[in-house]
Symmetry: C2
Subunit: 494 residues, 2 copies
């Protein structure tokens, strides 16, 4: 099969637009064919809409973007393309006719693939010239971001075609899943369709709304499914004996009306296949090890969703607001006059904070300092209401020194010493310590400037906040000024 | 209903252990009852295993942890608890008998809830004293991390019970989903069960392995389901006219054998309910707006999974390795002698990099500097092989100054100037610029120390790397030394 420089698209729409955006981003030229000339503008719009997200997918160096061209002439597309992807409506006869036509214009070493959600490749390749170079390559919306693509061969498809198509799909960042047997709906859509039809039944029966049924997934199983499928997840739920225990415990439920779909008989053969399959998936990892991996990604995903205030991330936000409220209500005012420094952050080094050395990445030290700084602000009365009133401290300088490594999972704490306060400025010194032996891991000097956010310029600190900061400064004045404070790079290591 | 200070658990196991870990973490005492005394040690182990992940869920201030006690005496538990959660096997008669017994020992203002996956609350409350304080509270494994809990009342349950149970569940960080109608399997397990039975059919029919079927979800739909359910996702796939278009386009597929589950008739009433439901979910947000939100979280989740090298994250890693290989193969050697500074990073400010001001958070400036530093290392020949040989540069000091704000989505680039190189040390100066007008947003001076990672001490830079760094230093020597270089906090703003 030939090297792919130009991807030909037969049909446009949401799926065609997604293919175009993905291919162009990774340096492949695209020629899109559609009988409707107005689809050119639509297509360019779809590519432009995809770009902001695609641009953030990776910061690895990219080749120059591919060029997009458009034609209403199917033959022109077929002659110029090195790989053709069909994305027309799910009508068997229509697909057969157009795939046949394209195959007569495209050279025999050009792969022709169909985006069909569930039609059978053997049916689709029926009227083609050189049908051995045809396969299904079924992507998922948004095609430019989701890696999954099901690759399915028909009766006449060669292994060379499957391999070459998979190589190209990997080149543009996808995960080709070879579906070894033709079935209507392939694999993914059979699973999605079962869930979807059960939804339709429940809405039809008046049991729940679409929103309740979506919530039933996104706050629970959906979080797990981002990285582990039902089978591996159930293997974990079965405790030490995994899937076999799970099937023994929940096997009887298969006879209960927990869905309108009847289950197959749970024969010994089926049990063995489920157990062998999940053991292969575990790749020698223990249940405990897999549980840790699952827990790690569940925590990390919820923290990502928290930033977008969506689904489980909104739940986490609401919880944190409650925890801060409760904590603020209990913070004794006397704390401000304690000899200091303040110990505002007790945490552990998160697995996603470490780099290839399994040590905490440099910018995460500053991340923890930011959490200490936020806690300091809450302590002196800077809350959401204060920020909404258009006043805020901005960090204007940070000087971090890394003294010792912090390892994933290590308990650490941060102390904060107030060095200086004036009308508009606050200078602090944070120290990160290991909890086990109090060893100093890092220190960070910071200058913060109080601003009027609407005017975007420096402005005096509110009197009450200023007074509380002043109490802290006085209480901390008895502490030694850190040797590193005020020093430049190369002379600031304590 | 009374304020919950002590949670009583009836039955232990994976679900009971998960409830205990969650409640204790958020400051609730737990008394667990199980007839088998050996379950005490098991329970304490389960709580300990949950702790590392739970500890990382939030850095918000937590109350002191709750205390865990254990008894084999069901009555003792029922008398001490303020809220009782039952987690025994899914056998109706057994649950009825023990729930009845517990209800006779617990005061009438103590809520009793069942973790049942799918039994009906009206059946479960049949033999209880004060059955109005009973409800189902169905959690998901791992209970200590997943927020979803289905709350279902039976015929005798009062709204007060539903409300009070939901309040407590929210207090311990969960998302109570009120299931308004009793059906076997509630909502979530009906959806999961449909998918699960379709899996069993496919394994039974020899179509695919459990691993292939798990992959069919985690690289595609599973990523979407972490924050948007099937209904909202299909609403987005329908283009500007949303769910109505989607049903018109894919309605015919409901008659096709894409799963063994038969769909209900797609009547006008059902279509209207689906459309109204998804419109309510959209809450006035346009398709384009929801697409952006979906794209943002899909990118962010893949980046999190990349750190764990799992699922779509592994695909992203493989793609990046290929991109770096291709880029390295094309980097002309002459670059090292160009007048400089180097422009190594061109990127956009990612939505997850901004804080409540929608400006880039301070530690993310250092994050981008780290990416520039990594690119510099690749340029001078420090690759994975070099690191595996036990040599590496460590960042020992960073001094960042924030001059102007960077907004989400803003295109930016970073330049890197090599200031000094000696046997073991490398000093660089990074500058972050806005792409639109080249305005300087931030600068960052850094000192890096070359180390022997096994010995954990400073060691000479490898000769070839040193020579390439030296060429860069010479080429950059003609540039002005930045005014801020070497200065301390308060005097380093350029």
């Amino acid at each position: 099969m030939r090297k792919v420089k130009t991807l030909g698209l037969l049909g446009t729409g949401v799926i065609g637009g997604g293919w175009a955006a993905r291919a162009l981003h990774f340096g492949i030229d695209v020629i899109a064919a559609d009988v409707k000339p107005e689809m050119e503008a639509w297509m360019r719009g779809a590519v432009a809409n995809a770009e902001p997200a695609l641009a953030r997918l990776t910061s690895a160096p990219l080749p120059p973007k591919g060029r997009l061209s458009f034609t209403t002439n199917l033959r022109e597309m077929a002659e110029k393309a090195d790989f053709i992807q069909e994305n027309i409506p799910e009508q068997l006869e229509l697909k057969q006719r157009l795939l046949g036509e394209v195959s007569r214009h495209a050279a025999a070493d050009v792969i022709i693939a169909s985006s069909t959600s569930g039609l059978m490749p053997s049916d689709l390749q029926r009227d083609m010239t050189a049908p051995e170079r045809f396969c299904v390559a079924h992507p998922f919306n948004p095609v430019y971001l989701l890696p999954l693509v099901e690759v399915v061969g028909g009766a006449k498809t060669t292994q060379t075609t499957i391999d070459a198509a998979s190589d190209f799909l990997r080149y543009i960042g996808m995960h080709p899943l070879h579906v070894r047997r033709e079935v209507p709906g392939h694999l993914t859509d059979r699973l999605q369709e079962a869930l979807w039809r059960e939804i339709l039944h429940m809405v039809n029966d008046g049991v729940a709304t679409t929103g309740e049924l979506d919530d039933a997934i996104i706050y629970g199983p959906g979080l797990r499914w981002a990285a582990m499928g039902t089978n591996l997840i159930y293997h974990l739920a079965g405790g030490e004996s995994g899937m076999r225990h799970m099937l023994a415990q929940f096997g009887p439920c298969l006879k209960w009306p927990w869905t309108k779909l009847e289950a197959p008989e749970l024969t010994e053969t089926l049990i063995d296949r489920m157990v062998e399959g999940t053991q292969a998936e575990a790749r020698g990892r223990s249940i405990r090890e897999l549980e840790r991996l699952r827990d790690d990604y569940l925590v990390a995903i919820q923290q990502v969703l928290r930033q977008y205030d969506i689904g489980a991330g909104s739940t986490l936000r609401a919880l944190e607001e409650r925890l801060y409220r409760d904590s603020d209500a209990q913070t004794p005012a006397a704390d401000l006059d304690a000899p200091g420094p303040l110990r505002l952050i007790d945490t552990t080094v998160r697995p996603e904070w470490v780099d290839y050395n399994s040590h905490m990445t440099d910018y995460r030290y500053l991340h923890v300092a930011g959490e200490a700084q936020d806690a300091l602000y809450r302590l002196v009365g800077i809350d959401d209401a204060y920020r909404r009133s258009g006043r805020m401290f901005y960090d204007v300088e940070s000087h971090v020194a890394y003294l010792r490594e912090a390892k994933a999972g290590e308990p650490v704490y941060m102390t904060t010493q107030v060095l200086d306060v004036d009308d508009k400025r606050l200078r602090v010194f944070h120290r990160l310590h290991r909890r086990s032996d109090d060893a100093l891991l890092s220190h960070c000097e910071q200058m913060h400037l109080h601003v009027d956010t609407a005017a975007a310029k420096a402005a005096p600190i509110e009197a009450g906040v200023r007074a509380r900061l002043e109490r802290l400064r006085k209480a901390h004045a008895a502490l030694a000024v850190p040797a590193a404070a005020g020093r430049g790079i190369g002379s600031a290591r304590a």
